[in-house]
Amino acid sequence: MMIPSGRQKITRYLLLLLVAIAFGAALYKAAHHPGAALFQMPENSAEEPQSGSAKPEFHTDFASTQQNISTHAASLVELGDGRIRAFWFAGSREGAPDVVIRTAVFDPVKNTWSPERSIVNRVDTERALLRYVKKIGNPVAQRAPDGKLWLYYVTVSLGGWGGSSITAVTSTDDGTTWSSPRRLITSPFINISTLIKGTPFLYSDGTMGLPEYHEFIGKFGELLRIDNSGRIIAKQRLSDGKSTLQPVVLITSPQRALVLMRRSGNSPDRVISTVTDDAGRHWSKTMPTTLDNPDAAISGVVLPDGRMLVVLNNIEAGRNALSLVVSADGGVTWKTVYQLEDQRGRPTDPLHFGQIAAELAKATDAGITDAGAYGKSAQRNKCVAQHCDFEFSYPYLIQTHNGDFDLVYTWNRSFIKHVRFNRAWLDQRMEKSKNGELH
């Protein structure tokens, strides 16, 4: 056996000193890691909301105005003054280098949208991140307890959407100005395949919950817990395998939540669910629900009385019908309370498609003077050769502090449609559909 020299002994003990310093610092950091937290109930659920009006109100319009452009994946956030800010991505086509994240603000008092503007683009993102970025996509926003607005969006450096990572920007003035982008590291495999779509939520300690999903090799839902400095403090898997995407978290109590997920792959054409009874420490085995799902996004909120309100393409194939459904038994059974869109069985040749799309645009917003241009934009994005498909997809539903509901969704990949309704309208619809068929 070799006897170590004096120099080797010193090196060896210096290494031990390095271990002591490294693990002293690491154990200190780990010991001060935030502990588990409960779900925070939305403020509007503490009591029956005081709606702006007891009269049923239902209003539709378009949040976006750009024509002949591909527009998709809208999300909403309520600002400090009660206005609603929408975000979506738009460009020459989905995944094109010219895609930007755009925003506009809805004033519920005037029922009008501000002019839209671009806030994030690919080139500025890659310069700020100091890494190549090929394309950007899905934006999702959240207002933290300190009033800071967080906008998360998807960036891809390598491959298709399966190679996505999440980037975040923040605003301290409710979206007028934005910080430099920062990258979130969420995956061990060169940080690829983390995407977002579902509505973020809060934990009782003020940390933020961000539903996300993975779609490289496997397809499954996950949750990120992020502190107020943007540091990821926990990650949880909601499902595994190759069949679930885009989780939506419906919180019914500080400990209990139902997660609904878009089905994908070869799984049954149903929305997939999982539940927790311990604020997300454990999640049940995934189960198909009674809701149809054609591999399309869903969105939902929990009403103050515990009923769940969900918007989805409640059909087995296509995205040409969009429904508002409600469950009074925690997601076991569902009833359609309103058919937001339904173009099943309508002509799909470009001429008729364009005419119908123009009529639908006019019906959405009577103030539109160039409905034909809306029809042409829809043709541009939804017609291939002599066949066109209506698409009403990627819903994003929120309930504001005064109890009203705002919904946005992709309208024929051309515009972002906005629907606003109040509790009185919803109660009326629920009453009408009382004897409706259960799903």
């Binding site: 090196t11 060896r12 290494l15 031990l16 390095l18 271990v19 310093i21 490294a22 693990f23 610092a25 690491a26 154990l27 200190y28 950091k29 780990a30 010991a31 890691h33 080139v123 890659e126 310069r127 991140l129 100091l130 890494r131 190549y132 970025v133 090929k134 450096s157 390598l158 920062r182 990258r183 590291i185 995956s187 061990p188 495999f189 060169i190 940080n191 993975h214 490289f216 090799i217 496997g218 397809k219 499954f220 996950e222 540091r231 990821i232 403090i233 926990a234 990650k235 949880q236 898997r237 499902s239 595994d240 395998g241 190759k242």
Partner: protein, 201 residues
């Protein structure tokens, strides 16, 4: 103004590119000084902005930030002419550990099964404690390279050296995993080929 974590990430990628130069034919024939100058030149070139971003930023877009273990392995290769070779048993032990960890970690982290070991990297105290025991065990057994990699990676995570908040990203990356798996397989094949034939029964 670049963030500290962007600078460390870019420096890691630039170092890796410089180390890759050692693979070029003829590098071994260069004098130590010329080799050092070439490595430094490549490192600097990678960090000089051409157009919108430095070359290292394009590479970083594809590779992400390199783990501390990868950097230690690369620096061992770069410093070979000056510091001498790392003992092969140390190197093999480290590569064996990386290969084992990779086989267990990546499939689960990428969705095989309901359990995600990556979640342990976000400040899980028992996970840090297990790493400490592993580092100490390696130190007692004399596997200095394993101890060095674990300690440096853990220290880097503790001080927030990279963008990542996850300790796994400091310990391991797919490049170290692929290299380790390939090296262990080659070692295995070579050992088998050297195995004495016609041994007495």
């Amino acid at each position: 103004m670049a963030n500290f974590t962007d600078l460390t990430g870019l420096a890691g990628v630039a170092s890796a590119t410089a180390a890759a130069m050692l693979l070029l034919p003829g590098m071994a024939k260069l004098a130590r000084l010329h080799r050092a100058l070439l490595l430094c030149a490549v490192f600097v070139l990678m960090l000089i902005p051409f157009g919108a971003m430095p070359f290292a930023a394009y590479v970083r877009g594809m590779t992400g930030d390199l783990s501390i273990t990868t950097l230690v392995l690369l620096f061992c290769a770069m410093l070979l002419p000056w510091c001498g070779a790392v003992q092969s048993r140390h190197r093999l032990a480290l590569l064996g550990l990386i290969a084992l960890a990779s086989i267990a970690f990546y499939p689960m982290a990428l969705g095989v099964g309901a359990y995600d070991p990556y979640q342990l990297g976000y400040g899980n105290l028992p996970f840090v404690a297990v790493l400490l025991l592993l580092a100490l065990a390696a130190w007692f057994r004399g596997y200095a390279l394993i101890t060095l990699c674990i300690a440096l990676a853990t220290l880097a995570w503790a001080v927030g050296w990279y963008e990542s908040d996850n300790l796994w990203d400091y310990l391991i990356d797919p490049f170290a995993a692929i290299y380790a798996l390939a090296a262990i397989m080659i070692f295995g094949v070579k050992t088998l080929l050297k195995w004495p034939r016609g041994r007495p029964r």
